[in-house]
Every structure is written in structure tokens, then in C-alpha cells.
């Protein structure tokens, strides 16, 4: 019951990402997802272990605070405020999101991990992955694509947490470290792209000539 509220917040936040154009909204929503992820481990069965506390703290501090902070720094330096003219419009994005939601529930209900804390875990992970991938594909700005990458990473974490009792925490930490490095590097690269070309539209990068 309580975990349902968490899932619904996840779905609604994913739809917010699909339908919004302001980069600050994206970052706030992604920060919210980070905090939701930090609550998630507490729903796993069994006694409270060190793993759970560690995962909760690390997720909350990195995805809830550190990544959003790094990204808003990148936005401020690159001076972009909103995604203009995505490849796929916001209304169509929402509609495709609905189809994605249905598909991921259809697949996810056949893929329930035996140790999952909720029947929706696999579906939610797939949907979040889908939204992340879709953001990367359909948006023009490099920064939105980096944000999509982060959303995808959230999807992987959801799946990871469902298997927390059997998976070593080390794997989770490894993924987080990768994500951290990626966000860090992307922040720097975005700044340089912006310096060099006065814009961040990745689709125009294929016209580069030497």
C-alpha cells in the first residue's frame, strides 16, 4: 500500500519529465526521484541491515543532492533555461510515455524478480529506463540528454534495489560511481561545447568539419 504511493510518485515524476520544458523543473524532478530511491530500500523484507542504511544514505546524498547540484551548476554556466523545439513534441512525448507505461507493465508483470519487494518493481524499472532513453533520443540539448542518462540510471537502481538482499552492495556502488563520473564529465563537456559553439544542440554537431 505505502509502496504504491512511492510508485505512483515515480510514474508521475516520469510524466513530468516527458511533458516539461524547463530545465530547472527537470532537475527538481530528478532530485525528487533520488529521494524516492533513498526511501525504496526500506521496503525490502527482512531486518534492517547495514546494506539498507548505506544504500539509502548514499542514494539520497548523491542522487538527491549532489547530482542535481552539479547539473544546476552546469546549467548556470552554460546559460540555458529550457529545451526548445525537441525532436518529438511534449504532447506526443506524453502519449508515447503512456504507450511505454503500458508496454513496461505488460513485460514487467512477466518478469517479477523472485525477491522483489513489490509486484511492480520490474515494470517500474523498465518504465523509468524507457523514459530515460526516450529523453536522450528525443531532446536536442546536451544537458537534457545528460538528465535522461540520470533517469535511466534511476531505473537501473530500482531493479538493483529489488534484488538488494542477494546482490552485493558493491555492484550498486560501482554503478553509482560510474554515474557520478559520467555526470561530472558531461558537466565539463557541456560547458566546453557551449563555449565553442554558442549552443548545445547535439544534432548540429554532425556538421563539424576540420
Amino acid at each position: 500500500m505505502t509502496i504504491d504511493i512511492l510508485w505512483i510518485l515515480f510514474i508521475v515524476s516520469n510524466f513530468f519529465l516527458l511533458g516539461s520544458s524547463r530545465l530547472h523543473t527537470y532537475i527538481r524532478v530528478i532530485s525528487l526521484q533520488g529521494f524516492l530511491l533513498s526511501v525504496l530500500p526500506w521496503f525490502s523484507e527482512g531486518p534492517v541491515s547495514g546494506h539498507i542504511v548505506a544504500m539509502s544514505l548514499i542514494n539520497g546524498s548523491t542522487k538527491g543532492i549532489l547530482f542535481p547540484w552539479l547539473l544546476s551548476q552546469a546549467i548556470r554556466r552554460a546559460e540555458v533555461r529550457r529545451e526548445i523545439e525537441p525532436f518529438i513534441g511534449y504532447g506526443s512525448s506524453l502519449f508515447i510515455g503512456l504507450l511505454g507505461l503500458l508496454t513496461s507493465f505488460w513485460i514487467g508483470n512477466r518478469l517479477i524478480p523472485p525477491t522483489a519487494t513489490s509486484v511492480f518493481t520490474a515494470a517500474m524499472a523498465l518504465f523509468t529506463l524507457f523514459v530515460g532513453l526516450f529523453l536522450i533520443m528525443s531532446r536536442r540539448k546536451a544537458i537534457t540528454q545528460a538528465l535522461g542518462y540520470l533517469v535511466m540510471e534511476n531505473g537501473i537502481s530500482i531493479l538493483g534495489m529489488a534484488l538488494l538482499q542477494h546482490d552485493p552492495v558493491v555492484v550498486e556502488l560501482g554503478i553509482l560511481l560510474d554515474a557520478f563520473a559520467a555526470i561530472f564529465v558531461m558537466g565539463i563537456i557541456m560547458f566546453h561545447i557551449n563555449q565553442e559553439f554558442d549552443h548545445m544542440d547535439t544534432d548540429r554537431l554532425n556538421q563539424l568539419k576540420d
Partner: protein
């Protein structure tokens, strides 16, 4: 026939313009004005019904039939709506589908009458109206499907009756989502603010108002009364979803439902006062979002 059902039907017919008055008064209070009297919509309707009719020579009988049929169809839809714990007068399995299509038929008649004028302007309004309602209708069906699935009842009266299982434990979250979706639908279908501004007469942004520009006198009165009835029926469905409880006493239930409807009207007034109208291009996103909420709750209900 249940006498309390008949009373509720009469309440729908007589009190629906009052909701418009309450909305306008709420907006006036927010703006720091005194506002028009609560009964102003009734005076407006009476004034319109006393007026003469001006009909353009380019129009055909469809122009007159549109408002007549529209108002009659919306009047029919009030027969299907349970209110304050008493069942509706007309009820059968699947009457919710009839209800949804009565709303669709009323809209179709309005659109036909608008197109009959031959004005490109009204054609634009008609096009917008059907575009947005094409997005709003799936939301209504998804919400009703969610409610049906959670109770196993196939009629609106059964769904919202006192012994329906709508409010057993564990359903609160999906039901709240359905209520939010229905509220957005309520605002969109009644041409209220985030979607359409009922006060505006700026051609670029109008949706509903632009379709009725050529109607005058009693025909305009019928259109406005029909709009009030639509506000009432959709509001009643929303209120039934929000407040499924029963005190066991018919009078008390009806009183609570009446207060609830007024509360909804105040809510609409507050939304109109604190929000700006959405850009026209963003409206489909809002409606798809409402559909998404209804779909999410449907998925969660299907699991429970």
C-alpha cells in the same frame, strides 16, 4: 420511482445555474470586488429567454436545432446521475457509456450548429473543441473503467450507492488519482480556466465561446443553461468519487452533496483566480496528463 431521486433531478435542473453564480462570486472576492449577485445567472437566463431571436439568412434549420438538441441531450444526461446517495431515475447496466456519449452527442450538435453558420471563425472554434474533446473522452472512459473495475458495478447508480465497495481500504491512492483526472476533465469539459477562459472574447484563444457567437436570445439562453447542466452532471460525478460515504439518512446525504457541489464551484473559482490560462499548444499535454493519471490508477486497481 424513488421520491428522493426525483428531488435530486429537480435540484439539478433548478440549482445548476447557481454554481455559475458561486464561481463568479468566488472570482470577484479573489479580485477584491463585490461581484454580481449569486442569482445573476438566473436573471441572465430570464433576460435571454425574453429577447428576440436574430438568425442569419445563411443558416439552415441545423442552426436552430443545435442548441435545442444540445440542451435537451444534456437534460437527459441528468436522468442518469445519482446524487447524494439516492440512485438516478434511469439506471441500467452500462449507463455510464450512454452518459459519456450523451455528452459527446451534445457537443456534436453544438459543433454542427457552429459549422452551419459558415463562419470560418466558428469553424476554428469547432475544430478546437473536437480536438480537445477527442483527448478528454478517453480520460473519462479510463476513469469510469477504473471505478467500475474497483467495484464490479456497471451502472453509475450502483457505483456510487451506499453499499458499493468503492471506498474499501487500500483504494485511497488510485481513487485520489482518478479524482484528480476527473477534476482536470471537469475544468476542460466545462471550458474553465486552465483550458479555456469563459470570460474572454479574444478570438485567438477562444474555444467554446467562439462556437456560440452567432446565437442570440432564447437559443443562447438554451446554450448557457445546457452549459450549467453539464457543469452540474460532471460535478456530481466528481463529488460522488470524492465523497462516497453515506450517513444512512437521505436528507443529510443530499445536504452534504449540495454543500459539496458548492464547494466544487468555489474550488473552480479559486483555480480560475490563481491560475493563468494555458497556452493553447499546451492544452493537449494537460489532457494527456489527466489520461495518464487515470491510466495509472486503472493499472493499480487492476492489480488490487
Amino acid at each position: 420511482m424513488n421520491p428522493s431521486s426525483l428531488l435530486c433531478l429537480l435540484a439539478a435542473w433548478t440549482l445548476s445555474p447557481l454554481l455559475l453564480g458561486i464561481i463568479n462570486r468566488t472570482k470577484a472576492v479573489f479580485a477584491g470586488r463585490r461581484g454580481s449577485p449569486l442569482l445573476q445567472p438566473y436573471h441572465d437566463l430570464l433576460k435571454l429567454f425574453r429577447k428576440d431571436l436574430v438568425i442569419s439568412r445563411t443558416t439552415t434549420w441545423v442552426f436552430v436545432a443545435g442548441p435545442l438538441a444540445g440542451c435537451a441531450i444534456l437534460g437527459m444526461s441528468t436522468f442518469l446521475i445519482p446524487f447524494g446517495g439516492s440512485p438516478s431515475i434511469l439506471r441500467f447496466s452500462g449507463d455510464m457509456i450512454l452518459f459519456a456519449y450523451l455528452l459527446g452527442l451534445a457537443r456534436f450538435m453544438t459543433v454542427l450548429a457552429a459549422l452551419d453558420t459558415g463562419s470560418s471563425f466558428e469553424g476554428m472554434g469547432a475544430s478546437r473543441e473536437v480536438q480537445f474533446s477527442a483527448l478528454a473522452e478517453p480520460t473519462l472512459f479510463l476513469a469510469l473503467a477504473g471505478l467500475t473495475l474497483s467495484t464490479g458495478e456497471l451502472s453509475l447508480s450502483g457505483l456510487f450507492s451506499a453499499n458499493s465497495t468503492l471506498h474499501r481500504g487500500g483504494m485511497a491512492v488510485p481513487l485520489a488519482l482518478i479524482a484528480v483526472a476527473l477534476f482536470i476533465l471537469f475544468l476542460a469539459e466545462n471550458a474553465r480556466i486552465p483550458v479555456d477562459d469563459p470570460n474572454t472574447h479574444l478570438e485567438l484563444t477562444m474555444i467554446h465561446e467562439v462556437m456560440v457567437l452567432d446565437h442570440s436570445g432564447p437559443l443562447l439562453g438554451l446554450i448557457q443553461y445546457g452549459a450549467a447542466l453539464k457543469l452540474w452532471v460532471l460535478g456530481a460525478i466528481l463529488w460522488n468519487t470524492l465523497w462516497p460515504f453515506s450517513t444512512g439518512h437521505n436528507g443529510a446525504d443530499a445536504g452534504i452533496a449540495l454543500v459539496g457541489m458548492m464547494g466544487l464551484a468555489v474550488g473552480v473559482g479559486v483555480v480560475e483566480s490563481v491560475m493563468a490560462r494555458l497556452r493553447l499548444l499546451r492544452v493537449p499535454a494537460l489532457l494527456t496528463g489527466a489520461g495518464a493519471l487515470a491510466l495509472i490508477s486503472l493499472i493499480f486497481i487492476a492489480r488490487l
